[in-house]
């Protein structure tokens, strides 16, 4: 095994994770606060209105990062589910489980802010086109994952069933990404990933990237809190069983 692999396994046990996450937590929290403050300032005060979309373009700064995180969280959840099914790794199982409600929240916000942007620009809160529908499917995949997790008395079975759903549902992530290229849609294509580089002015790119950084730091912060809670809950169950048994 290479050095990086050894390094990973050394830190990827729950007890070490508690120590490591205690160090990372305040940094993630601090980064979130600083980046959100800077991002909201740039989004609302220091960036210009769009020449076509006017002030509604500011919705982009909460809509696009939420949509990115919705797909990023699902990818993490699917990868952690694969690791959990392959190696039965307890920490991977916890990361997948704890990512689900965060990803579901980002997906909900992407849909909601998109709707608030669609009404003034398309004159429709909702259209059944490929991009919007595939993101709605993503929300249902998250909710299905959470429901499956809680549907079994044996948490191990719930975790395995939910992991299979997460893996099967991963096919939806590239569909979301390329939906604007594969189908005719009202939704505009990506302005970031083009052959000529980002097709977006620096004054709008800056708030977008800072908000994306803020959302990423937020994800790390909340994920660490939730995984810590899960690890400690396992310790509590073990202690209670020991006390009940002897």
């Amino acid at each position: 095994m290479d050095a990086a692999g050894k390094m990973f396994l050394k830190h990827a046990n729950p007890q070490r994770f508690l120590g490591l996450s205690a160090v990372v937590l305040p940094w993630a929290a601090g980064a979130t606060v600083v980046l959100v403050t800077a991002g909201v300032y740039l989004a609302l005060f220091a960036s210009p209105p769009d020449y076509q979309q006017g002030e509604t373009v500011r919705i982009m700064y909460v809509h696009v990062p939420a949509a990115w995180m919705a797909m990023f969280c699902y990818s993490i959840m699917a990868a952690a589910s694969a690791a959990m099914l392959t190696w039965k790794h307890p920490l991977a199982a916890m990361v997948a489980k704890c990512t689900a409600p965060i990803g579901a929240s980002f997906t909900f916000l992407a849909l909601l802010t998109g709707s608030l942007w669609g009404k003034p620009m398309w004159d429709a809160w909702w259209v059944w086109d490929a991009r919007l529908t595939s993101v709605l499917v993503l929300l249902f995949l998250y909710l299905g994952y959470i429901a499956l997790h809680n549907a079994f008395d044996d948490p191990g079975r719930g975790s395995r069933a939910a992991s299979v759903l997460a893996l099967v549902g991963f096919v939806n992530v590239p569909i979301i990404k390329f939906s604007v290229d594969w189908w005719n849609t009202l939704h505009q294509p990506s302005s970031m990933v083009t052959a000529e580089g980002p097709a977006i002015h620096a004054s709008m790119l800056a708030p977008l990237l800072v908000m994306a950084g803020a959302y990423t730091a937020y994800y790390v912060w909340v994920l660490l809190l939730r995984v810590r809670g899960e690890i400690i809950a396992v310790k509590i169950r073990a202690l209670q069983m020991r006390q009940a048994g002897g």
Partner: protein, 66 residues
Amino acid sequence: MDSLAAFFNMGGYGAFVWPAFVTSGLVLIALLAASWHFAKAQERTLARLESDAGAGAGAAEDGHET
């Protein structure tokens, strides 16, 4: 004062821009608060169980000695 009103008006799109920002903030703060409470509650429960176990073990040892 006019500029403040113009800011909140958002070129006539205030009814769309502000709900997008406010609900994003509320949802993310609610999820953070719930996760924070969950983690802290588990930490408190574990601390209590461990101090109980420590006290219990201590009492049992005392019992053996007398």
